[in-house]
């Protein structure tokens, strides 16, 4: 039991890595997914298919395969990233594919009459997007996006398989030294739960904030 308590700072380090990786992935995939999602709806035809294929292919590959590919595969192409960078890249690429779909769905849920009304008063494309489409689309965007964020935190546990000491691997290593698996797994599960439950709570707040549109 003493060992377990002594190992708490170690678990804390793992938790920080999990949070750091998750946060980076959430930010990168939000930016890339939004840009590509807007492009797939409004962009020219020659952009549509590459994005479509990217999104479909990546969503069809198990995340673990993607992580191994970035981790072991990229060096073969003389692309040398740090361990952490390679897993962040893998997770971000994977999440981006999902976010593209979420953004596309949210935009296309807005009736075309909204775009036309925006055009009619003389708004340019960017203005229509910013002042007409986005404020309405965000409501459709939020629930699946929060799901994707929760998924990212859980999915990040896979990076332990390439030896990055995140919360998952930290737990396992402590178990390896202390031989008290159950309490530690419960503690670990609790930590993941606390993170994700706070996310869910935050998301419900957000959704309520954007619930001003009655249909």
């Amino acid at each position: 039991m003493i060992f377990a308590l002594q190992s708490l700072p170690y678990l804390w380090q793992g938790l920080l890595i999990t949070l750091e990786v998750s946060a980076l992935v959430v930010v990168f995939s939000l930016i890339a997914g939004t840009i590509l999602g807007v492009a797939i709806v409004y962009g020219p035809r020659w952009l549509y298919w590459p994005i479509r294929i990217y999104s479909d292919v990546l969503r069809g590959i198990p995340l673990l395969v993607l992580i191994f590919f970035m981790y072991y595969g990229l060096p073969l192409f003389k692309i040398n990233l740090t361990n952490l960078a390679s897993v962040v890249l893998a997770l971000s690429a994977f999440k981006t594919a999902h976010i593209i779909e979420v953004v596309r769905g949210a935009i296309q849920s807005i009736p075309v009459g909204q775009t036309e009304a925006g055009k009619t008063i003389g708004l340019r494309f960017g203005q229509r997007l910013l002042y007409v489409i986005a404020p309405q689309a965000v409501r459709r965007f939020l629930p699946p996006w929060i799901n994707a964020v929760v998924d990212t935190v859980k999915g990040s546990a896979l990076i332990s398989l390439v030896g990055i000491v995140d919360l998952m691997l930290a737990i396992q290593q402590v178990i390896g030294r202390t031989y008290i698996p159950m309490p530690l797994y419960v503690l670990g599960a609790l930590m993941y739960f606390v993170i994700n439950y706070s996310l869910s709570l935050a998301s419900r707040r957000l959704e309520a904030r954007f619930a001003y549109i009655r249909e």
Binding site: A117, T120, I121, G122, Y131, R214
Partner: protein, 264 residues
């Protein structure tokens, strides 16, 4: 009228042609609208009325012919070497800012209050300071009888009220011409009057309008001219008295009979 016809028209349409695939929808439309005129467009379903209006502010592109608003070709600019080039989004936005449109289904921005719906274009397109934009928005909302609904969301308004916000949103931009496409046909009958009254007042104040409607009383009383469309062409064109007295024109007769049926 005699003087009007000498000045250049606000809207000038020449030999306008437009197809959807193989379906020829506008088959050579010629139409001039002078400043202050209210041109009422009538015609059976599918005759191309909506398409005509949507071409004027380039919600639809057109294939051939010309549409000029205030002397400016809306669909194209002269390309290098004389050819026609489609206009950029930025150019289109500038042209559209001067062409108001009110929709059958209102198309208000549901996330914005009545006032914010009107303010948006004044701020972002006309680039007015907030205080002035709000003042103009309030002025128009009061004019359409919604002075007590400034802060209501569209979902809190009746259909007739929403449509009046739609009108305020369009006229606040001070357009050169206002396009109205069956703006009362989605309304409960008892709400039609309040919207048409607003349009009638605008007409009296000299707003140039092209109005697609099935309200024949409105066409007769408010229209400077009536245009009867069928099969993508203008079949009859004249003052309300001239057009509505052409009772021997078979297709007009059939159309008017069908409208009567729907009304009674």
């Amino acid at each position: 009228m005699a003087e009007n016809s000498k000045t250049s028209p606000v809207v000038r349409i020449r030999d306008l042609r437009k197809s959807f695939g193989t379906n020829l929808v506008l088959d050579g439309i010629d139409l001039d609208v002078q400043k202050g005129e209210v041109v009422v467009v009538i015609g059976p379903s599918g005759s191309g009325k909506t398409t005509l209006l949507r071409c004027i502010n380039l919600l639809e592109t057109y294939d051939e012919g010309s549409i000029q608003v205030d002397g400016l070709e809306v669909g194209f600019r002269d390309g290098t070497g004389g050819g026609r080039q489609r206009r950029s989004d930025r150019e289109l936005a500038r042209i559209r800012a001067d062409i108001g449109m009110v929709f059958q289904l209102f198309n208000l921005f549901p996330h914005l209050t009545a006032r914010e719906n009107v303010v948006l274009g004044l701020r972002k397109v006309r680039r007015l300071p907030l205080a002035e934009a709000r003042r103009i928005a309030e002025h128009w909302l009061v004019r359409v009888g919604l002075g007590d609904k400034l802060d209501s969301l569209p979902s809190q308004l009746s259909g007739g009220q929403q449509q009046r916000v739609g009108i305020a949103r369009a006229v606040a931009m001070d357009p050169k011409v206002l396009l109205l496409d069956e703006i009362t046909s989605a309304l409960d009958p008892e709400l039609v009057g309040e919207v048409l009254t607003v349009v009638q007042e605008l007409a009296r104040d000299g707003m140039t309008m092209i109005v697609v409607t099935h309200e024949m009383a409105f066409a007769r009383d408010v229209g400077s001219r009536i245009v009867f469309m069928d099969g993508g062409r203008i079949q009859i064109h004249g003052t309300p008295r001239e057009v509505l007295s052409q009772t021997r024109h078979d297709r007009l007769k059939a159309f008017l009979a069908r409208i009567e049926l729907k009304l009674h």
